[in-house]
């Protein structure tokens, strides 16, 4: 079962299907490599959904445990990243339902949208705009955060997001549009022309 032989050079050049067959043959080194390859994807999805740094590692571990246990059932009907993202999404939603924010998952958006903080212009630090936006994204309802992460950060297509979350394509587009409009509205409240220029400069520097 445990094959911790040093085959790093071999595994790093493997494609997903070769990696899967290696894991199914009991090569744990290949599994370590798979975790390394997809941990960013998993941490982005679970992190955005559960929003608990202290429990993030446990939830991610649970995701990869499920990946390992169900790898034999994986058929090449979708990309491995889509399949892993589906497991990460379902595990995170179950976590929210079980331990923390069941109401947030099941309720409509309106309550969560009301939670978005209101910043007043005079309290606002110009250089903090990106930080402010990131904080605002974290305050969005869970469905909005999910589609934003999958579409913009992980660059999944609408069809793939539909496969992962089970949301219809129209809903995904609507969430993306509404999230963007919402943040834009909030920015218009807090940002004056000067700070906008400053942020643009910072963005271009990066």
């Amino acid at each position: 079962m445990q094959h911790f032989v040093c085959s790093c050079c071999q595994t790093s050049s493997m494609n997903d299907s070769e990696l899967i067959s290696q894991i199914l043959n009991g090569n744990m080194n290949a599994f370590t490599f798979l975790v390394n390859r997809y941990q960013k994807l998993v941490v982005h999805i679970t992190g955005r959904l559960i929003q608990r740094h202290d429990e993030l590692e446990d939830v991610c571990q649970e995701v990869f445990l499920k990946v390992f246990q169900n790898l034999g059932k994986y058929r090449n009907e979708c990309k491995l990243s889509t399949w892993i993202a589906t497991i990460a999404y379902n595990t995170s939603i179950n976590y929210l339902r079980k331990f923390k924010k069941g109401d947030e998952v099941d309720s409509d958006d309106s309550a969560a949208l009301r939670n978005l903080t209101e910043y007043r212009s005079d309290e606002f630090e110009k250089a903090d705009l990106h930080q402010y936006l990131r904080a605002q994204i974290e305050l969005l309802p869970v469905q909005y955060r999910t589609v934003l992460t999958l579409f913009h950060l992980e660059e999944f297509s609408y069809q793939e997001i539909e496969q992962i979350t089970g949301m219809p394509e129209g809903t995904i587009k609507s969430y993306l549009f509404r999230a963007k409009s919402l943040l834009k509205e909030k920015l218009k409240f807090v940002v004056d022309e000067d700070s906008l220029k400053l942020v643009k400069e910072i963005s271009n520097e990066k």
């Binding site: 571990q61 022309e193 643009k200």
Partner: protein, 115 residues
């Protein structure tokens, strides 16, 4: 113009890494945890294989000995059937010790070593 700039800023922030961190050895830790959790299945499979092999050997030897010394085998069978309750108890006890050695203790030790 302002609208476009806002769009750019927002889209850039959507693509910015959210800053969630896992420990640097996360992949290794997960692989070890998975291996440990899966180990008991391997142990159970080994136990079943070995038990099957032992029982098969016993059956083959008894069958072979039946042709060598038929009377002894029949006598042994009669003894076993006359003492069926203690025989079952002893067989159960031996099997439990065997199972504990091959599966149960290993599973418990791995749980304890985790804590």
């Amino acid at each position: 113009m302002k609208n476009e700039e806002l769009d750019q800023i927002i889209e850039k922030s959507f693509r910015t890494e959210p800053g969630f961190q896992l420990s640097p050895d996360f992949a290794t830790k997960v692989a070890f945890t998975v291996a440990r959790k899966e180990q008991w299945k391997t142990d159970l499979r080994e136990y079943l294989y070995l038990t099957g092999i032992l029982l098969s050997l016993l059956a083959v030897v008894s069958g072979f000995y039946y042709f060598v010394d038929k009377a002894f085998v029949l006598q042994a069978a009669a003894f076993l059937s006359n003492n069926i309750v203690p025989v079952i108890l002893i067989a159960f006890l031996l099997n439990f010790i065997w199972f504990a050695d091959r599966v149960l203790l290993r599973l418990l030790f791995s749980r304890w070593s985790k804590t």
